[in-house]
């Protein structure tokens, strides 16, 4: 069965390594913080200016001056630090953040990503996404395999204005885990109960399928 958003977040959380600094985008990526594996310590950076972001505040204790990049009220962990936006993007651009997880509207088989604009229809802006994808060594895209109209979001070539070129290394969707290399999506894992045929049908871009495709262990 295809995963829901929490399932995707849970699978992505398995990619975390002890001691990493991690930037989570808005949407599914934010949920990753709920599934940190036992024995793994990571610290969350939010690009508006905090390192060591904690959970939402207890009802009644929210502080208008303490928010994350999604403008949500948050708390700070012990050992947190606040800083300005230039310092925040110095961390990102300087590759001090070990993992970036973000959503996308489209990903192409050469690692391009589009997630900020639909010409003539919607422009919210790129926020920090262009800095993140241009700089991070390790980018995971978290998204549904197809859009609401049922059209594949894993393409030969992106049709929307790009956020970054050739930067995505891994995509984790409701159907599969895929690596991007040699101009193709390489299938690595299937969501529990999802068949290779279903994944093939949902993927517009070139999909390389090895002999053995294990199911995700959640």
């Amino acid at each position: 069965m295809a995963l829901d958003k929490n399932g995707i977040a849970q699978r992505i959380a398995q990619e975390l390594r002890d001691g990493w600094y991690v930037n989570l985008g808005i949407g599914i990526p934010t949920l990753v913080a709920n599934y940190i594996p036992e024995g793994i310590e990571v610290e969350f950076q939010s690009e508006n200016g905090i390192l060591g972001m904690g959970p939402f505040p207890i009802d009644g204790e929210e502080d208008a001056d303490l928010i994350n990049a999604g403008k949500q009220t948050i708390t700070a962990m012990n050992g947190a630090a606040y800083f300005d936006s230039a310092m925040s993007f110095a961390m990102i651009r300087g590759q001090h953040v070990q993992l970036t997880v973000l959503g996308a509207m489209e990903v192409s088989q050469n690692g391009d990503i589009a997630n900020w604009k639909i010409p003539g229809k919607m422009v919210k802006g790129m926020g920090g996404a262009m800095d993140l994808v241009a700089s991070a060594e390790n980018i995971i895209v978290a998204m549904m395999h197809a859009n609401k109209a049922g059209v594949s979001k894993l393409l030969k070539k992106c049709s929307l204005p790009l956020t970054g070129v050739g930067c995505v290394k891994k995509v984790i969707t409701n159907l599969a885990v895929m690596e991007i290399k040699n101009n193709a999506f390489h299938l690595v894992e299937r969501a529990p109960g999802v068949t290779v045929e279903e994944i093939m049908a949902a993927t517009e871009g070139d999909l390389v399928i090895p002999d053995n495709i294990p199911e995700m262990q959640l």
């Binding site: 690009e47 959970p55 300005d84 990102i92 926020g127 070129v165």
Partner: protein
């Protein structure tokens, strides 16, 4: 070196139609509320606003958009604002969208006398159109230029009569870099103290960047996304 002015009226003296402004804040967090209210009252128009966001419909820079006082926005993210989207899609409002890190660094550069720098952000996208591309360490970068403004208007938690500022938590965001990049920089603060009250080791923005400072009368500090958990 007393920089104290009585109120936003005095603080914004000289602010005219068609000027370029920097406005601190991220979303509704750390925005100069009192100065925005005064700009609405003044009715100044044709403004170019450099601000990471555009507020919401009825608060922050959204108030200036409602009054059609803004000609152009230079921002990184402008979601959550219907009136903004309407003005942009209809062509009433010019919008220059730039990556958030490049926006922060371009403001800092403007204040720091760095006319231009190279960054990888935006390479291969619309943002790179018309900009020089150069490879460093095998990776393409684009040349971004400094931003400055006629007025930079920032909001701090505590300030002193010399213009030294301390921000609170994530309300710091763009305020320190914008403070550096204004020809005239106005700071509105929650608490204005005599020189010597702030620990010189804890100051985020040294007073040299500030020309005028005042204590805001009230701060609503509206929350955009109230997210909580139960005890």
């Amino acid at each position: 070196m007393n920089k104290v002015v009585k109120n936003p009226v005095e603080a914004l003296e000289g602010l005219q139609d068609d000027m370029t402004l920097m406005m601190g804040g991220f979303g509704l967090c750390g925005i100069p509320e009192n100065s925005i209210a005064e700009m609405v009252r003044m009715g100044v128009s044709g403004l170019t606003c450099i601000s990471n966001n555009a507020g919401v419909d009825d608060f922050g820079l959204g108030l200036l958009l409602q009054g059609k006082q803004i000609k152009k926005m230079i921002s990184s993210y402008v979601g959550e604002n219907d009136e903004f989207e309407r003005q942009m899609l209809s062509g009433e409002l010019e919008v220059d969208l730039i990556p958030q890190g490049s926006l922060a660094e371009r403001c800092r550069a403007g204040g720091a006398g760095i006319p231009a720098f190279y960054t990888p952000a935006g390479y291969g996208t619309e943002v790179a159109e018309g900009k020089e591309v150069r490879e460093f360490n095998g990776k393409p970068h684009i040349l971004e230029s400094a931003l400055t403004a006629d007025f930079a208007i920032v909001k701090a938690w505590r300030g002193d009569t010399e213009g030294n500022l301390i921000f609170k938590a994530t309300a710091r965001n763009f305020n320190p870099m914008m403070a550096m990049a204004g020809k005239i920089t106005v700071a509105e603060v929650e608490e204005l103290l005599p020189a010597g009250s702030l620990n010189p080791n804890e100051i985020h923005t040294p007073g040299i960047f500030i020309q005028r400072i005042f204590q805001g009368e009230t701060f609503e500090k509206r929350i955009e996304q109230r997210t909580v958990r139960q005890k």
